[in-house]
Subunit: 250 residues, 2 copies
């Protein structure tokens, strides 16, 4: 029985535009398909593979990464439930990086023809898909700023802020708390520092009373303070204008 749960892509696209019943049906059809389960720390797709379709994360956390010849690894993006990984990525002949599962992940693979079914169906739907792609591009750019200009503490704080805002946008924050099921080594590979130094910076954030984070449970004790440390502004996530109809169920 597919899709008894709310379609996460519909939820996502409704952040950007108001979708008609017909549009929702099209998206539902596009997403209808077997869910694939990936175990923690396994890959959804590997560098060098020919892309088959576009993964839509239904549950769990995924991440894109690249490994250098000498083993250094960098996480290039983190994908949360509802995230579409690179719509149209299937156009390229070969993956230039890998996508892995940080936690156990369930996802649906949208085939090119199902993508085509959505793009070009109506203008608002196309627009919403673009919007999603654009915010992902903006997020990549923000990570460049983060890595290039912020020091270790700011960088870590910024990542926590981003994750917090993104999780909140998909309803995964309760109060000031959410799950952040990353290891400190994951954070290190994301922020370009060593695990040891991540540890020290996490403690610093804890010591300043900004965050609690233990066993994967995260709490923003002082969100404003955390944003200040990070010089974080959620503008690049383009949530505000988008959030004009949070009542997805019309």
């Amino acid at each position: 029985m597919p899709n008894t749960a709310p379609n996460p892509l519909v939820a996502r696209l409704c952040r950007y535009v108001r979708l008609s019943e017909a549009e929702r049906t099209v998206v539902d059809k596009a997403v209808a398909g077997p869910e694939i389960a990936v175990r923690q720390r396994r890959d959804l797709i590997r560098e060098g593979d020919r892309p088959r379709g576009v993964p839509l994360i239904v549950e769990g956390w995924a991440f894109r990464y690249k490994t250098l010849e000498d083993g250094r690894r960098q996480i290039m993006s983190i994908h949360l439930p509802g995230d579409l990984c690179d719509i149209h990525g299937y156009i390229l002949d070969e993956m230039d990086h890998s996508i892995g599962a940080l936690t156990p992940v369930r996802y649906v693979e949208l085939s090119p023809d199902r993508i085509d079914m959505m793009t070009g169906y109506t203008i608002p739907l196309t627009r919403a898909l673009w919007w999603d792609a654009l915010t992902k591009a903006a997020t990549s750019r923000e990570w460049i700023v983060n890595l290039g200009q912020r020091d270790a503490l700011e960088r870590l704080a910024h990542l926590f802020c981003e994750l917090f805002f993104r999780l909140r946008a998909v309803g995964l924050v309760a109060g000031h708390s959410c799950d952040i099921p990353l290891t400190q080594t994951d954070l290190a590979e994301t922020t370009g520092m060593t695990p040891v130094h991540v540890n020290r910076m996490v403690q610093e954030l804890r010591g300043r009373g900004l965050i609690r984070w233990k066993g994967g449970e995260f709490e923003a004790l002082d969100l404003e303070g955390l944003c200040d440390v990070a010089m974080f502004s959620p503008d690049y996530l383009h949530l505000d204008q988008a959030g004009r109809s949070p009542d997805h169920d019309g």
Copy 2:
């Protein structure tokens, strides 16, 4: 007399697919429009502005950047002639960053309806536009890897490699030489280091006999060696498969 010069967007898209006469005409029409000249170090568009259209760089080097509250600045991407800056960026209400001119720049601003004219005209054309957007996203991700995992020397070498390959792809390399009209401060803001340290690293690359770079003229004395230092692989630029018909006028 518009477009006596070859249309740079046609040239770009022909890297990805073979375009029909009709498709070329559509692209020509989309690009037909007044060229805008921007003086060196001025902005094409600023953070906070409402995007008007999509800049297509005709001549010169442009760059996206973001400035933090305290003045630190990061260059997030570099745009060379033929580059389309974020097709569909006009969908977003507000720019979350600025685009400036590194050199004197001439560009055409494609209005949303001209973009729409191209997207959806035919499948190959749409595909080519997507391809272009995808390689730009891949480049952003590679910059993340660069900033996160490579040390100063590798990082600088990597940037030189990327610029060299990209310039070559648009016919701006002669032999092993090309213009790289950046200051060392520009490189610093791109690679997330200080100008002083950029200087030292440039000298190191010179000292190893890998590059010559003086007065904006760059020469890859030992391209292979430079790629080795950088652990550079041009895969992410997705030039190879694309380059199957370099004879654009065929």
